[in-house]
């Protein structure tokens, strides 16, 4: 066996330039794929985490049907108590079977009202939140630009977005009049002072959302202790599945659903899928071009050695054995290419992991999806191995055809070939 490997390795380097160029083609594509896939995955991670942390959370507990049709009367009863219970249970995981999940829990109620300042009126979403827990599940409390965030669960105060403040021509200390309807269809009205103005950079969010303390919201909108969702956020979206399973075990009410982010934000999941499927088209073309390059190299290497193979066959080496020799050569080529490719890809991508990546115009595109203007590629086993792995397999497949040609050789004719 040792001699075969030695032979194959030496055969490979009979044409150092040709082998070098073919390797270069493999390495070039490997580096490109590692970088592109890492960038893509990094972008998805960021898209998911940024979108979810801004308001949605990773998992929500909602009344059955609220997801499809978010109406006032589809509520979670005794939401504050239920949220406290879940918080307690998730923190108290001491059994040996369940992994500890570091999660934050906060109850929320959503309503709609006509919001008026002295000068202007706009329709807006009104969120009732738990001021002491909301900062752990959403970034909005941390984005207060003026004034302060809500200070207590039943205080009569409101925070609004910067665009809304501008449109209402209202500032800190000004009073807002809310007019809407309560859970039971009754008339809901309140006058609250603005204590804080947040700015998330997402114009829609900054235009449309008013936050009130949850207990005060429940008074105004006749909620009788109920709310619309209990938001649970883990440290990363990768824990979503785990978290969903835990929560399903904790909830024993058939009227309540445990809904994960993929259902809460179907557009997000779909945007990622759409992006991924179009990207595969590009990757496919790159892989095909490398395969052509490798195919040509091995075809040459087999054709130019027709005489040599003829002599080997005449000396009694079986076609299978010669075929294996050629196959081993291509294997060496593929492995060498892959190793260099992974190393170079990792080195190249690491630069961007440290410094980030941006292109002209990215700021506008990124802000639409609530992203920062710089991407950091996710260099992990998937991004590092997927591209080079596919090219490795394509390389081996491309080398199959030349290797099978050996079986067609007739020793005498082959020896006479020039």
């Amino acid at each position: 066996m040792g001699i075969n490997l030695t032979l194959a390795w030496r055969n490979l380097w009979r044409h150092p330039r040709r082998t070098g160029l073919t390797l270069a083609a493999i390495v070039f594509s490997d580096v490109l794929l590692v970088w592109m896939i890492a960038l893509q995955l990094g972008q998805y991670d960021m898209m998911i985490d940024n979108t979810l942390q801004s308001f949605t959370g990773h998992v929500q507990i909602q009344a059955h049907g609220y997801l499809d049709n978010p109406q006032m009367r589809r509520t979670v009863p005794d939401a504050i108590e239920l949220a406290a219970h879940i918080r307690q249970e998730l923190h108290n995981t001491n059994s040996h079977t369940e992994a500890k999940i570091n999660a934050h829990v906060s109850a929320r109620a959503m309503g709609f009202a006509l919001v008026s300042s002295e000068k202007r009126s706009y329709g807006a979403q009104i969120a009732g939140v738990q001021p002491q827990y909301e900062p752990q599940v959403s970034v909005i409390p941390g984005l207060i630009q003026q004034g302060r965030y809500l200070s207590g669960p039943d205080r009569e105060e409101a925070v609004i977005g910067s665009v809304m403040a501008r449109n209402l021509k209202a500032g800190i200390g000004d009073e807002l009049t809310l007019l809407g309807s309560g859970k039971d269809g009754s008339f809901a009205a309140a006058v609250v002072p603005i204590v804080g103005i947040y700015e998330s950079g997402n114009t829609e969010l900054d235009r449309q959302l008013v936050q009130l303390p949850l207990r005060y919201f429940q008074d105004v909108f006749s909620m009788r202790g109920s709310a619309h969702s209990i938001v649970v956020t883990a440290t990363s979206h990768e824990q979503t599945q785990n978290l969903t399973a835990r929560l399903r075990n904790l909830i024993h009410d058939d009227n309540l659903d445990v809904v994960n982010w993929e259902r809460l934000q179907p557009g997000l999941k779909q945007a990622i899928q759409a992006d991924f499927s179009t990207a595969w088209l590009m990757y496919g073309v790159l892989v095909a071009l490398v395969a052509f390059s490798v195919l040509n190299t091995f075809l040459m290497s087999v054709l130019e050695r027709t005489r040599e193979f003829g002599i080997m066959l005449a000396l009694g080496v079986t076609p299978g054995k010669v075929g294996r020799l050629v196959w081993t050569e291509s294997f060496f080529m593929a492995v060498t290419g892959m190793l260099f490719g992974i190393a170079a890809g990792a080195a190249f991508t690491t630069y961007f992991v440290i410094h980030g990546f941006s292109y002209p115009g990215m700021e506008e595109l990124a802000s639409k999806f609530n992203l920062p203007d710089r991407f950091y590629p996710a260099l992990n086993s998937v991004s590092l191995l997927l591209g080079p792995g596919v090219i490795f397999i394509a390389t081996l497949l491309a080398a199959l055809w030349p290797a099978t040609r050996i079986h067609l050789l007739k020793p005498v004719e082959a020896m006479q070939a020039v």
Partner: protein, 415 residues
């Protein structure tokens, strides 16, 4: 010794080069395959990308953006009734007669609250002149239930399917719309739902409620004031002259092209321009390794031959030229196949390609439609061919230089 002119020599070299290309037809075919796939990838993928963006822009333009919008200066920052403007002046009307303008229309566009007996929602109330908006707005083709608006006086409303579901209302039922009049007083009025529209984007369905322009003006007590004047030109790529002309005609109003109204769209268009170049270069590099390799092989296996003709008096630069001509043949035949392949793969989908069948989901979220119409731009086809030929010949300089550099005696004695 006969001295041949450069032309004759080149002609001879061309014949020799063409025959050399086919000395090893398998290798040549594989290389042609690689070039053809590369060129195909350049042209086809670019056509698809352009098609997607074009579709996106066309859709967005119909989604209340149009090509040019005219507002009161403060309207965009604060789209309320207080920032409305008078109906177009005579000079503006005159400017709007320009033959490059396909159509134009005024709109009322203000925030409002819509309520059924059960639910309320925040929306934008849009008052339109239905006939003038037929080409400019998506609405006429999107009403799936009930009817489109009939005139500016039509006081029925058309709402989105998703909004109807949220409000638990339906065709023929009444809803209440609440908004503000110019004096900051709340106005409300019942409207009958005369139509339900369905679009690919859910956000459009839940955000807009349409009624007749005059009916909206009366409801909001705004007289003949309007919020917006939308203009559709003949070509979204060349709206700038119109913008300039309208700015002159209406100096106290804000005249904006679509690129400034939806910066995301404009950026998308630029990013695609950049992407085309990057993609061409990347494909070319991946392809060039194979090209250089193939030519190197072709040159190496002819070392003796090249040595011999050099010994017989052929000048090195002619050998260089011969290899370059070989490369040119390889590249151009590959290009012919590549262009043919692109043409063949675009013909079946040029009338639209429903990519939802491929399992490509989520396009709606990105503001795209699932029907894809590839857009083949002559400049892309020319660019891809030029990139392949020019860069291909540059890459071939290396093997050609290696061939020309042989020392005759050494080369002949080499086996």
């Amino acid at each position: 010794m006969t001295r041949y002119s450069f032309g004759t020599i080149t002609a001879m070299l061309t014949v020799i080069a063409w025959r050399n290309v086919w000395r090893n037809h398998r290798r040549t075919l594989i290389m042609l395959g690689a070039i053809a796939v590369g060129v195909w990838a350049m042209i086809w993928l670019t056509a698809i990308m352009r098609g997607m963006v074009d579709q996106m822009i066309t859709d967005s333009i119909k989604n209340l953006i149009a090509h040019v919008q005219i507002h009161a200066p403060a309207y965009r920052d604060d789209p309320s009734i207080a920032n409305s403007m008078p109906a177009p002046s005579d000079s503006l009307q005159q400017a709007l007669q320009d033959p490059a303008i396909q159509t134009w229309s005024t709109r009322v566009r203000v925030p409002a609250v819509i309520s059924s007996e059960r639910e309320s929602a925040g929306v934008t109330l849009v008052g339109i002149s239905p006939l003038r908006e037929r080409e400019m707005l998506f609405l006429a083709g999107a009403v799936t239930d009930g009817r489109y608006l009939q005139s500016p006086r039509d006081d029925g409303v058309i709402i989105g399917a998703k909004l109807a579901e949220r409000l638990e209302t339906r065709l023929g039922w009444r809803i209440v719309i609440m908004s503000q009049d110019p004096d900051n007083d709340i106005v409300d009025r019942g409207f009958r739902v005369v139509g339900i529209f369905d679009t690919e984007m859910e956000a459009t369905e839940t955000s807009y409620v349409f009624t007749g322009l005059q009916s909206a003006q009366e409801f909001l007590k705004m007289g003949s004031q309007v919020s917006e004047l939308a203009v559709l030109t003949n070509d979204y790529r060349h709206e700038q002259p119109i913008v300039d002309k309208l700015r002159d005609a209406a100096p106290d109003l804000e005249v904006l092209p679509w690129q400034e109204i939806d910066k995301y769209l404009a950026t998308m268009l630029n990013v695609v321009e950049g992407f085309v170049w990057v993609w061409f270069i990347v494909v070319f590099i991946a392809m060039s390794f194979g090209l250089v390799n193939t030519l190197l092989m072709a040159v190496f296996e002819r070392t003796r031959e090249i040595g011999l003709i050099q010994a017989l008096g052929m000048k090195p630069r002619l050998i260089l030229l011969q290899v370059l001509i070989e490369s040119f043949f390889l590249l151009s035949v590959g290009l012919v196949f590549g262009n043919l392949l692109s043409w063949l793969s675009i013909i079946p989908i040029q009338d639209g390609w429903d990519i939802s069948a491929l399992g490509v989901e989520g396009l709606e979220y990105a503001g795209m439609s699932t029907m894809l119409y590839p857009v083949v731009q002559a400049s892309d086809v020319i660019l891809s061919n030029v990139v392949v030929i020019v860069l291909g010949l540059i890459a071939s300089l290396y093997p050609a230089w290696r061939a020309a550099r042989h020392v005759p005696v050494e080369a002949i004695t080499r086996i």
